[in-house]
Amino acid sequence: MSSVEMKNITKMYDKVTVLKDLNLKIDDQEFFVLLGPSGSGKSTTLNTMAGLDTPTSGNILFDSEDVTYFDPNKRGVAMVFQDYALYPHMNVYKNMAFPLKMKRYKNDYINKKINEVANILGIKELLKRLPRELSGGQAQRVALGRALVRDPKIFLLDEPLSNLDAKIRSQIRNELKLIHNDLKKTFVYVTHDQQEAMYLGDRVGILNDGVIQQVGTPQEVYSHPKNLFVAKFLGEPEINIFELDKNDGGFKIGGVPVDGHNFDKLNKITIGIRPENILLEKKSERDMPLKIVIRAKEFTGSGFIIIASTDEGKEIRIISDQANMDVGDLITAYIDYEHAILFDEQGDSINK
């Protein structure tokens, strides 16, 4: 059992506030992903959980026990770092043995445990090598191994895959998911890669400028972003954004009025439409036609990304299974209004 709760955490370095009144609840056995751009405070959040940093104010609870001022080694957490942080002067075996040695386990147990974990991670042949003799993927496996042998209550992972090439990244990502399913432990995983976050997370917390923007399942945060930042940060290619000014008492895209009942008080709205929600064929009565000129087609393997521009010269992106049109063609696409996301002037999402 290990849930994590961060209550009103504020962290300041000198006069710079890095985390602003951050609240998070991570459930036992959950795979929680903290997602945010560089400098948003992800590592700082993780470090305060680990006890490597102390919050300026606020409390951290593990299973409702206040651990805010506990030393790292009293917290029962294991951590994996972006740059692997293997001890350069110890071979793989000794690296993995280190946390167990610190806990004064017997050599027999250490040996057994390391072999067990080395088998799971497929690093048995590497045990005698020094870190500098390992490839990036191997080094990260060893770093994972060093965390796994410890049997901690909580795993903290700080961008563990971001230094790896795409193929090994997805491979270890899959393994991580399986390991989490097997171990049934709480994982807190930090990344700036939204795809990784959606793939791995039971829930995802999006962080920007030290403020949690939204927490939810990948589907929730993708389909129902609370604000423009979340909407734009998730999804590849990026969501299509239409900023609309009030005209004749209503809003229009490509000359077609946007229907909605509570626009009265608003002077400006922003509509976000994911690339897969712009259709090449009309599907429902509410779909809104949009005249576009095809600018480029990109083949992605499973389909196409179509880059086009509207009458007003706005560039939009469409994901489509097929693309039997040519660059330069003038066609009518349809906005799937059902899936359009509306935001007010402040960028907060509003109901249709």
Binding site: A85, Y87, H89
Partner: protein, 271 residues
């Protein structure tokens, strides 16, 4: 073409002469140390003999001075290395008030003419009973090298990535264990260099034992060599033999730690 060649020849000639100027005293030292006593001055002796070495190495006073030299220099070396580790770690890893000021203070002390403290120390040592004791010399020599040791060790610790330290802390090592298992092993090349540097400086130090010791049985080799000159007739061949013996520990240490020296001077710690 010829001009260039000529320049080469001139340059090499000058360099050779310079090298000779440095080498001649050493050559003379070696030759003299294998000469019989009657061979005075810069001449080739009629016969070579091991007698000067034999005499020096069987003379209990000289043996004792070598022994004293070793104890005092090694003692002071380990004293300052051990006491440098803590401050070096704190300066490298912790932030606190006046850190920069203190650090600059340490840096300043590395160039401070500490010998100017010898007189007050002398009086202090007499008052506290440390005068004319081996411990007293070790303490003073140890403190002498402390600032430079702290400074170099701090720079070495600075190169250890923060995440490695953090990993060790999360893995359950406290500050002390992190020092013992991570920082010190990773700084081993620098430590080796520091040990040699300290030893050679201490071994060659003349003033400190000369002023802080009075009993002749405590005098290290550096002071003992000097005492030759006070004798009625200087035995140059024995002086030469003792001088050669005097240089041996430094040379041996340099050879022994060459590997580390190269490592330490060519780039520090890498993963």
């Amino acid at each position: 073409m010829i001009k260039i060649k000529l320049r080469f020849i001139v340059v090499y000639l000058i360099l050779t002469l310079l090298a000779l100027a440095f080498l001649i005293p050493f050559i003379w030292l070696v030759v003299e140390s294998f000469s019989p006593l009657n061979n005075i001055g810069f001449t080739i002796p009629s016969t070579f003999t091991l007698a000067p070495f034999e005499h020096v190495l069987t003379n209990s006073t000289f043996i004792r001075s070598i022994y004293m030299g070793l104890i005092q220099s090694l003692g002071a070396t380990f004293l300052s290395i051990i006491f440098a580790v803590g401050p070096a770690y704190v300066f490298s890893r912790k932030s606190f008030k006046f850190k920069t000021t203190l650090l600059l203070g340490v840096l300043l002390l590395t160039g401070f003419p500490v010998f100017s403290l010898l007189v007050p120390t002398f009086i202090f040592f007499i008052d506290t009973g440390l005068y004319n004791t081996v411990i007293g010399v070790i303490l003073f020599l140890g403190v002498l090298n402390l600032p430079i040791d702290i400074w170099i060790m701090k720079n070495s610790f600075d190169q250890i990535p923060k995440s490695i330290e953090r990993a060790s802390i999360v893995d359950g090592a406290g500050t002390l264990k992190s020092l013992i298992y991570i920082f010190i092993p990773l700084s081993l090349p620098i430590m080796a260099v520091l040990i040699i540097l300290n030893f050679v400086i201490n071994w060659g130090n003349f003033y400190v034992p000369f002023i802080l010791l009075s009993s002749s049985h405590l005098l290290p080799i550096s002071v003992r060599i000097y005492s030759f000159f006070g004798a009625f007739s200087v035995r140059y061949n024995e002086l030469a033999a003792l001088s050669i013996i005097y240089t041996i520990p430094a040379v041996v240490l340099y050879i022994f730690a060459q590997k580390y020296m190269i490592k330490a001077l060519s780039g520090g710690i890498k993963g």
